[in-house]
Symmetry: C2
């Protein structure tokens, strides 16, 4: 029988605060759940807790709004301070409509509002703050992998996921914005087509598929569950991070 | 502990031929695997076997190529007969470049080459044929659900998945092109933002997230495994099919 895939939500993670050692928190939660990491396991961690541990908050009161943000905020019908932060986090604005600004994030993802999160943040209404993406999610994933290896003796693969909207389809899906220890694309051996030509290589984006699966599990918990242990994924090892998931600008047909 | 998600690839499905009763084949394979369906289970079935059972083959020798297909084939550097079939299956051509034609399929999906598949088909090189998507994957999913309920006494939820490329990101991911018995989007309760405004509702595309997870499992098997049993998904019931996943043309920013 082919191996099955298991996704186990990790209970018992405390509220994460800036400066927290996420690897220690995860290791403790694993221990409480009587779960021991195994070779080949993948740990999928929600961007939100990585950002919180890294203290990626921005206080809106401290934002200095420029002219571009003022104009864009009017078009998007958003708070100009938030729009300034979105611009600061982005390379390019691709589309604008009321309520949404689609950008290329400075890390290369195309998504809404530079991934800046205002929900589920313990924020003072008198002094609101928002949560930015980690500075370098691949580096965050590598650190978490290394720290967990030091704590547990097992080098798991790590994916940091976030929920992105998509072109053409409604709803959000989990995608991998950072990874460590794995190859995010599975390279299929080139097949021949009916005419003997080698087909264009099909590459399943396995890191995104796992990120999506974990997102589903994270969303099931009443209060959300930011860490999911995945067993049986059989992902190939790799050191390249998540960059392979990003299509080069010149190759993209939908800019 | 929050319930875990299990994805169990179904071994023992024979090669599917036109006219086969897919529900009977699945029920038999479940029996061989000593697996009994349970309430809340989701069965994810690869488009390819649904199309095969429905006999959705087209012989290239029978295709009459029109002027539009001839011109488009030159731009796309594809077989004009295949391009004619792509046009026949599509409402609109969105983008063309050598090797790929991005269309809106007659069922509303935006994807490459109208999902027409030339790989893994037992085809005579002297008389090549290709495999089209099911005529109505939601109807296929509903039939499979009803037949399995009749055979097993359990009404599982059914997703028919296919692998789609995406804007902005490399690699393909599994998506739901048909579903039965489930709500493809999970409607989150509207949260309030920092300023007391209700946030735009976030709707995870849970059917796509599960389709992606199943696609990962399907691709792990050496010869592929077209049916995956999912346990623990906790998807809400619903009768609307997959249409809710398709963004209305006027709402889409990337046409």
């Amino acid at each position: 029988m082919t191996a099955q895939l298991q996704l186990i939500p990790l209970d018992g993670l405390p509220r994460v605060e800036p400066g927290d050692d996420l690897a220690r928190l995860v290791a403790a939660a694993l221990g409480e759940g009587a779960l021991a990491l195994e070779e080949g396991d993948v740990l999928v961690v929600a961007q939100k807790v990585v950002s919180k541990a890294e203290g990626r908050y921005a206080r809106l009161a401290e934002v200095r709004v420029g002219d571009e943000a003022t104009a864009l905020a009017a078009r998007a019908e958003k708070d100009p301070r938030l729009v300034q932060l979105i611009l600061d986090e982005s390379r390019e604005v691709l589309r604008v409509r009321p309520g949404v600004i689609i950008v290329e994030h400075r890390n290369g993802y195309v998504h809404a509002n530079a991934g800046i999160d205002r929900s589920n943040i313990d924020s003072d209404p008198e002094d609101p703050r928002v949560l930015l993406l980690p500075v370098d999610p691949d580096a965050s994933a590598r650190r978490l992998r290394a720290s967990l290896a030091a704590l547990t003796g097992v080098s798991v693969q790590v994916i940091i996921n976030d929920s992105f909207g998509r072109a053409w389809r409604n709803g959000t899906v989990g995608v991998a914005i950072g990874c460590a220890g794995l190859e995010p694309l599975r390279n299929q051996v080139g097949e021949q087509d009916l005419f003997g030509n080698v087909l264009e290589v099909t590459e399943p984006a396995v890191a995104d598929e796992l990120a999506a699966a974990a997102s589903l599990v994270m969303g099931q918990a009443a209060e959300g569950c930011p860490v999911v242990l995945v067993r049986g994924a059989q992902l190939a090892g790799g050191a390249g991070g998540s960059a392979a998931l990003l299509r080069e600008r010149g190759q993209d047909l939908f800019r």
